[in-house]
Amino acid sequence: MSAQTTSTKVFEYNPTALQGDDPLHGELMELNMGPQHPATHGVLRIKVVLDGETMKEIEPVVGYLHRGKEKTCESLGWRKFFPHTDRLDYVQPLMNNCAYAIALEQLGGVPVPERGQIIRVMLMEMSRIAAHLIYLGTTAIDLGAVTMFFFTFKERETIYTFLDAYTGHRMNNTYVRIGGVYADVNEDVGREIEKWCDHFLGAVDEYEKMLTGNRIWYDRNHNIGIVSKELALAWSLTGPNLRGSGFEWDLRKQQPYSSYERFNFEIPVGTTGDCYDRYLVRVEEMRQSTRIIQQAVKLLRDTRGGEFLADDRRYVLPPKGKVHTSMEELIHQFKIVTDMALPKGEAYGAVESSKGELGFYVVSDGTSHPLRCHIRAPGLMNVQAIPVVMRDRLFSDTVSIIGSLDFVMGEVDR
């Protein structure tokens, strides 16, 4: 790790220190961007000190969407926090559900049945594609390629249609439960998803045709916002931002969860770690996710009729049909809804979300309400890297860098 990466000066806001700079540059100018700005992808605010066109000091200001999720979790209890996890990274709600469920399952020691795992994998990969499509559409629109927004949203709408048919809502699905998922996948949905996968691979090629060789896109992304491998590790970057720097690290491969070890897929890595590499990594990840979905649909066909929810009456609600007929099940239902306690201890559950490592660190004191639920947001780390990546770059690169670091403010601010 080099010396400048460890500097804590990033957070110092000291324009006077820069007065003796290059005389060719004009006076220092402070510029504010956000919190309401279409290119900041949410309510991020960035304070910049400009020396001519060059950015000298950058300070991201976050917290404009801080809703107090962790406090809410302590007040609501374990189960009732599930809907709140959807709204963390709201472009991929099911991924957040899964991460929280994995943390609680580790704490409670609940095994998830095979079919439940496969359904989760399918949902997570669909979420990943949806999140990467948002990245592609919004970043492209910020860099002037308005058509991409319509292209990507067309596919997103298809994913939403599937989720609508399957989970009952377009986004914020709250579909994952401790020990599995809420309901089984309809076979028709699986068939439609399979059909769409073939179509989607063609759509990704279309995106690449639009952007990869595009002169404007290339010039505005290539060699911009370079994150070296060491820098990425030191600044806790994960996910496509780390892989774009050429480091092959993917929790799905390295520390498999939800039976990812059964699936065949590859981890794309970049070479230089610039915005263009991160773009290529994400595009390739969409293809690999499609591959995983295709395998998952096949596996779902093979495991038809299997259990998708653990049969554990400590944490899993009994089926509704039994609740109405059996006294014991009614008592179980009542106990789980009102007072579901998890054993004393601590656990950390993480998934490889589209932004990086999304983790839940949960501490239980043995009661129905958590002692602490900390959300390890990859987006916060990506925002943290903004000053490091942007310093001494031209101001016009801001949009490409912010877009390619890819964060969602709901997750950053929590």
Partner: protein
């Protein structure tokens, strides 16, 4: 122009349209809303979907999304408003030229929704006047389109000339001030009296 404007069926006056100024102004306003999408959280994604290819807001003349409040007349507050963001939100509203309308999209901006916490504004109407509330978390794009249609009906009923003649803020254009637009003062915003000792959970 539909029912708004009658064509005088008189050959001598052929080529003239007769209407009331009120209706002409309202007709123009309601069919060319320029929304300013204040995408704060999840609802912002559905707002994008609404402008996107499937739902196509252009059918209702409101697709010209402007990210500068100076060029917009419809503020769509989409998502959770926090007290930290409230200042920015109110500033944006102030910067919009009259006449202006507000849609509170989603339960968070309508009432605080599921976030009953220390940092969330319990309804955007505690800081600015709202015309249409859209429930849902997030509402489907269809619901927001319905809200825009409802807003168009509301605009139809406005009386710009009457307000002009009453002399309110004549320097800001026709019919700018609408007297019913003060923020909703009835919304409680502070719950400091509900202090609970640690370990005890509010039943709210």
């Amino acid at each position: 122009m539909g029912s708004l404007i009658e064509i005088k069926d008189n050959p001598a006056q052929e080529g003239f349209l007769w209407t009331r100024v009120d209706e002409l102004v309202n007709w123009g306003r309601k069919n060319s809303l320029w929304p300013m999408p204040l995408g704060l959280s999840c609802c912002g994604i559905e707002l994008m979907a609404m402008i996107g290819p499937k739902f196509d807001l252009a059918r209702f003349g409101a697709e010209a999304a402007r990210f500068s409040p100076r060029q917009a007349d419809l503020l769509v507050v989409a998502g959770t408003l926090t007290w930290k963001m409230a200042e920015a939100c109110r500033t944006i509203y102030d910067q919009m030229p009259d006449p202006k309308w507000v849609i509170a999209m989603g339960v968070c901006s309508s009432s605080g929704g599921m976030y009953d916490s220390y940092s969330v504004v319990q309804g955007v109407d505690s800081i600015l006047p709202v015309d249409v509330y859209v429930p849902g978390c997030p509402p489907r794009p269809d619901a927001v389109i319905d809200a825009i249609l409802k807003l168009q009906k509301k605009i139809e009923r406005e009386r710009p000339v009457e307000l002009l003649l009453q002399g309110a803020n004549t320097d800001e254009g026709i019919g700018t001030r609408r007297f019913d637009r003060a923020p909703n003062r009835g919304v409680p915003t502070t719950r400091s009296h509900e202090f609970l000792p640690p370990g005890q959970v509010s039943d709210r």
